[in-house]
């Protein structure tokens, strides 16, 4: 399920948020359904509950999940689209720039790279 990398040094609460986002994108946590509680995630992955809560609060602030009193956290309607939108917005600087940088270091030309991308879409 979740795939944490505790040795990466990446803040754990951000990893928690990212992993839940990932599960929302791929449909593991469908819109309108309840997601695991802070305690469940804390117990299963040995993460301090305060850290898990911080990650969840990030998602609440971003309008992806909402708290229903006495029940738990639920994925809001339209969350999947929101996450996708947010990821699209950072896609260029997060993914493309790295990709181009690596391509350059391997002396792959722009045309070649574009060709590869087209090929990737065809598969």
């Amino acid at each position: 399920m979740f795939d944490f990398d505790f040795n990466s040094g990446e803040p754990i609460y951000r990893q928690v948020a990212e992993q839940i986002e990932e599960a929302i994108i791929n449909g593991s946590f469908p819109e309108g359904t309840q997601i695991p509680s802070t305690t469940e995630i804390s117990n299963q992955f040995h993460i301090n509950p305060a850290t898990v809560l911080k990650g969840m609060n990030m998602l609440v602030a971003n309008g992806l999940i909402e708290k229903k009193r006495g029940v738990g956290m639920f994925v809001v309607q339209g969350a999947q689209e929101t996450v996708k939108g947010a990821r699209r917005a950072t896609f260029f600087e997060k993914e493309i720039q790295t990709l181009v940088k690596q391509a350059k270091s391997l002396s792959i030309s722009e045309t070649e790279l574009l060709k590869m991308i087209s090929k990737g879409y065809e598969q």
Binding site: S8, G9, I12, Q44, P49, A50
Partner: protein, 292 residues
Amino acid sequence: MSVLDVSHISKSFGNQTILNDVNLSFSGNKIYGLLGRNGAGKSTLLNIITNRLLPNGGKVTINGDTVDNNDEALSHLFLMSEVNMYSNGSKLSKIIDDTELLYGSIDRQLVTELANKFELDLNQRFGKLSTGYRSIFKLILALCLPVEYVLLDEPVLGLDASHRELFYSEMLKTYADQPRNFIISTHLIEEIATIISDVIVLDNGHVLLHDTAENVLAQSSVVVGPKADVEQYTQDLNVIGKESIGQLAAFYIYGELNDRPIPDTVKISPVDLQKIFIFLTNYTNGGNGSEK
């Protein structure tokens, strides 16, 4: 809110100083990681907090009341350590009864539940248990008592991987059910890195670092790239450790990075707690030290 204060604690054995003016404060139902190399004074500190050892100077208080010779303050503490405080001839069930008598209560249901999960037969005598099961028994007591401060000194000593996993899960479960302060001293930093919210590093008898785990991680980074570029970039930064292979260098930084533009050739990444700890407490390989 309950506060445990350690102020100006010093302790020496003979002419060997173990702790030197240690000041710490614990509160807010957090999980503290007490880290330090062997002989840094972790166990001594925990034993002084629980009044098992008497300090040469300074005092430990809970909400302002000293723990020294004070049953009321001591009843808020439980220290689980490697030292065996139970007599070998006692049955586990009898120890549980006596512990309940002296602490006033114990969560019997949880004791039974945990004993089942760890497959611990409570009709055995303490002396018959293996090192691992002694730890398990003491951990069960630690989790089931109504104390505000649970002090664990090398809690998973002798436990196999699956029992360690089980312990961390159960600990977090009781923590969620009943938030209280945990102070965990261990050298297995990786295992508790995500569990703790606060980090205390003891080094040579004094407190080297006391901050939230998040701040410590945020303060730390590693600069990797060609040696010359890395050296150039990290010139006035607080370099706590260096690694290099050939011309490739990795400099570990603790503290703020500067505003200087980052050269294309170097990459800056976060560092995990274990690495930070190793470099902070390793003087021979420190800022101006030699390289591997």
